[in-house]
C-alpha cells in the first residue's frame, strides 16, 4: 500500500485507459503470441498423431506433461493461497499485490489444465472423467488420479477466477466511470454488473470476496495434496511417502510467492507504480519469499533425514536421485530454490528490481527442476531393473511447455493492458483508514 502523502488511484486507472501502450508491450505480445501459436501447433499435432510424439514410454508414462502440470498448479496454488490469506487478514500488502496475485493464479490454472487433458491421448474424450449419466453405464473410477485431476483443476479454476473477478468488480466500475469513449464505458460497464457503490453493494461485495477467499484456503491445501497423492499412492519407492503433500505445498507456496514477487517488481518498474507497490510492500514480499525458500530448504533436509530412517529401497531411490543420471536436477533444485533466494537477506537486494527478477525466476526454475527430479528421477530405479531407463523430452513436448509459458505471458500482458493491476478500491479503503 501507499504510505505518507495522499495517493490517487488515477495512475492505476489511467494505465488500461491510455490510448497508446508503447512498442515494448507490442513486441512482448508478438513474442508471447508466437509461443501461443506454437502451443496451438503442438496441441493439434499431439491430438492428430498421439502421445507417441513425446519421449514418454514405460516406465516413464509421466514426463513433461506431469512435470509441467505440477509446476503450473504449484504457481496457481501458492499465489491464490497468498492472495486469500491477505484478503482474510485485511493485510495492507493486499492493496499492492492481490489483484495480480489472483490473476497470476488464474492464468497458471489455465496453463496447468492443458496438460492433464492433452496427456489423455484422446483429449476429446476428457469429459469421461466427469460423472454424468453415460450410456455405457459406468461411473468414473474414483481411485484414478485422472478423476482427482478433474475435480481439483475444475474447482481450482472456478474459485480462482471467482476470487479474481469478484475483486475486480468495483474497479471495473471505476474504469467505466473514468473511460472517455462511450464504447469503452459500455465494455467495462457490462463486466461491472451495474455496480453503483451503494453501501448495500459494498456490504455484499465484502461478504462475497471474503467468502470466496475462505473457500480458497482449504482448497489450496487439498489441491496441492492431491497433486502429491498422485505420486504418493503409487508403489514407486521414492514417491510412496507421507511427506510428499508437505513437500508439494511448501515448494508450491515458495513458487507462487516468487512469481508474485517477479510480477510485482516488473509491474512496478514498467508501469511506474512505485507509489502503489512501494518499497515496504516489495520488501515484505521479499521476506516472505525468503521465508518460504527456507521452509523448502528445511524440507530437503527432512527428506534426507527421513531417508535414513526408512527402508533400504526408499533410501536407494533417493540416493539415485542425488547421484544417478538425474543428479544434476536434484542439486540444481536446491541451488535455485533454496540457496539463490538467500540473496534476499540483504535489504539492498529486496529493494532491487534485478534481484527481484533473479530470485523470482530462480525459484521458478528450481521448483521445476524439483518436479522433474521427483517425477523422472524418482521413478528411474523402480523395482524392475529391466525397466531402468532414462527419459528425455522430445521437441513437441518442449514446444508444448514453451507454449504454455507464452500463453501465461500473453494473458498477463492482456491483463496489464485492459485491467487495473493494483486494487484501486482497496487502496482507497486503506488510505481512508489512515486518515481516521
Amino acid at each position: 500500500m501507499a504510505r505518507g502523502a495522499e495517493i490517487s488511484t488515477t495512475a492505476v486507472a489511467e494505465v488500461p485507459l491510455s490510448a497508446q501502450f508503447g512498442a515494448a508491450w507490442w513486441i512482448a505480445l508478438i513474442v508471447s503470441g508466437t509461443l501461443v501459436l506454437l502451443l496451438g501447433y503442438t496441441l493439434v499435432s499431439v491430438a492428430l498423431v498421439g502421445v507417441g510424439m513425446w519421449g514418454v514410454n514405460v516406465p516413464f508414462v509421466w514426463g513433461f506433461d506431469l512435470i509441467n502440470y505440477a509446476w503450473w498448479i504449484g504457481i496457481a496454488n501458492g499465489a491464490s493461497l497468498f492472495a486469500a490469506v491477505l484478503v482474510l487478514r485485511r493485510h495492507d500488502l493486499r492493496t499492492a499485490v492481490n489483484r495480480f496475485a489472483e490473476g497470476v493464479a488464474f492464468f497458471a490454472v489455465i496453463c496447468a489444465g492443458i496438460f492433464p487433458i492433452i496427456h489423455l491421448g484422446r483429449p476429446w474424450l476428457f469429459y469421461w472423467v466427469f460423472p454424468y449419466p453415460a450410456t455405457f453405464e459406468v461411473w468414473p473410477q474414483f481411485r484414478s488420479t485422472l478423476t482427482w485431476d478433474f475435480w481439483a483443476i475444475s474447482t481450482h479454476a472456478i474459485l480462482t477466477s471467482l476470487l479474481w473477478y469478484v475483486g475486480l468488480i468495483p474497479d471495473l466500475a471505476t474504469l467505466r466511470d473514468r473511460a472517455r469513449h462511450v464504447g469503452v464505458k459500455r465494455a467495462y460497464g457490462i463486466f461491472a454488473l451495474g455496480w453503483r457503490s451503494s453501501v448495500r453493494h459494498w456490504a455484499y461485495h465484502q461478504r462475497a470476496y471474503r467468502g470466496v477467499a475462505i473457500l480458497v484456503l482449504p482448497l489450496i491445501l487439498i489441491m496441492q495434496s492431491v497433486v502429491a497423492f498422485e505420486f504418493a499412492v503409487t508403489l514407486v519407492p521414492d514417491w510412496h511417502e507421507t511427506r510428499q503433500p508437505l513437500h508439494f505445498i511448501a515448494t508450491g507456496l515458495a513458487q507462487g510467492l516468487s512469481i508474485v514477487l517477479l510480477v510485482a517488481v516488473l509491474l512496478r518498474w514498467a508501469l511506474h507504480l512505485e507509489r502503489h507497490i512501494d518499497n515496504h510492500d516489495v520488501e515484505l514480499l521479499g521476506k516472505l519469499v525468503l521465508a518460504s525458500a527456507l521452509v523448502s530448504g528445511y524440507l530437503y533436509v527432512d527428506e534426507i533425514a527421513a531417508a535414513f530412517f526408512t527402508d533400504r529401497l526408499t533410501r536407494d531411490a533417493l540416493l539415485n536421485r542425488m547421484t544417478g543420471d538425474y543428479a544434476g536436477l536434484y542439486w540444481s533444485a536446491i541451488v535455485y530454490s533454496v540457496l539463490i533466494p538467500q540473496l534476499l537477506w540483504l535489504r539492498l537486494a529486496r529493494r532491487s528490481v534485478l534481484a527481484g527478477i533473479v530470485v523470482g525466476v530462480s525459484i521458478g526454475i528450481g521448483v521445476w527442476f524439483d518436479r522433474f527430479s521427483i517425477i523422472v528421477g524418482g521413478l528411474q530405479t523402480d523395482y524392475l531393473p529391466s525397466t531402468w531407463r532414462t527419459y528425455a523430452p522430445t521437441l513437441p513436448e518442449t514446444g508444448l511447455f514453451l507454449g504454455t509459458l507464452g500463453l501465461f505471458a500473453t494473458l498477463l500482458l492482456l491483463f496489464v493492458r485492459f485491467l487495473p493491476v493494483v486494487s484501486m478500491f482497496e487502496t482507497r479503503h486503506d488510505e481512508h483508514l489512515e486518515k481516521l
Binding site: 449419466p133 450410456t135 455405457f136 453405464e137 459406468v138 467505466r176 464505458k185 459500455r186 460497464g189
Partner: protein, 216 residues
C-alpha cells in the same frame, strides 16, 4: 451525460443470463434424451444390402435352423456368414433365374464373398464371443429380436455398453434352458432355473463386469 445502459438493455442483459442458464440445462436434457433414442443407435433402420435377403421367409416361414447359415455360432466368436455355396445348396434348385439373386450366383462362380453390410457391428475395441453366450443360455432372440418376422434385418436393441452391462450385472433373468436358445418367442427360465446356476452367476458377477472381460 445520461445513463450508460437503458433499463431495457439492463432487462435484456438479465434475460440473457437466465436464457443462457436455461439453454445450458436444456442442452443437457436434450443430450440425455438424444443419446438414448433408438434412432441414435440405428434401431429399426435396415442397411443397404447387395441381396434383399429375408429372414422372415428363411427363418420364419421355412423354419431353417439359424445354424444352417450362421454355422460357427456355437463354436467361435463370430457367428459366421454363409458362403455362396451355402446359399446355392438351395438356390441352385429354387429361384434359379431370379435377378435379385444375381450377386449370389456371381459370387459362387467367381469364388468372391458377398459384401454384406453389417447391421450389428460392435466397435473394434469390444471383444464379443457368440459361442460364449449361446452355449450359456443367452438366446439369439435376446439380442437380435424376432428375426423370424423381419423382412429386412434390423437392430432391435441398442447394443450400447450400458445395455450389455444390464445383463452382465444380473444375467439370471435373461437365461434360457439350453434347448430354447435358438427358439423364437420362447421365454426365459422363469421360476425353474436350477439353483446351482443362480449361485454360479451370483459369484460370476465380478468376472462378468470387469473391464477386460470385453475390452481385451
Amino acid at each position: 451525460m445520461g445513463q450508460l445502459f437503458t433499463s431495457a438493455a439492463t432487462t435484456a442483459f438479465r434475460v440473457t443470463i437466465v436464457l443462457f442458464l436455461l439453454a445450458a440445462a436444456g442442452t443437457g436434457v436434450l443430450a440425455y434424451i438424444w443419446t438414448r433414442a433408438g434412432s441414435s443407435w440405428n434401431i429399426g433402420k435396415p442397411a443397404n444390402q447387395p441381396v434383399p435377403f429375408r429372414h422372415d421367409l428363411h427363418s420364419g416361414l421355412l423354419k431353417i435352423d439359424c445354424r444352417y447359415c450362421h454355422s460357427t455360432v456355437e463354436r467361435a466368436a463370430d457367428a459366421g456368414m454363409p458362403s455362396a455355396q451355402t446359399c446355392m445348396s438351395c438356390h441352385s434348385e429354387v429361384w434359379i433365374g431370379a435377378t435379385v439373386l444375381e450377386p449370389v450366383r456371381s459370387s459362387f462362380a467367381l469364388s468372391q464373398p458377398i459384401i454384406w453390410t453389417s447391421v450389428h457391428r460392435l466397435p473394434d475395441y469390444v471383444y464379443f464371443h457368440h459361442a460364449a453366450h449361446v452355449t450359456k443360455g443367452v438366446a439369439c432372440e435376446t439380442c437380435h429380436g424376432r428375426v423370424d418376422r423381419m423382412p429386412r434385418t434390423v437392430k432391435t436393441e441398442t447394443l450400447s455398453m450400458g445395455w450389455c452391462l444390464d445383463c452382465h450385472r444380473d444375467p439370471v433373468p435373461q437365461l434360457r434352458p439350453r434347448g430354447a436358445v435358438l427358439a423364437m418367442g420362447s421365454g426365459p427360465h422363469a421360476m425353474d432355473l436350477p439353483d446351482d446356476l443362480r449361485v454360479f452367476y451370483r459369484e460370476a458377477f465380478q468376472r462378468l463386469t470387469s473391464c477386460n472381460t470385453c475390452h481385451r
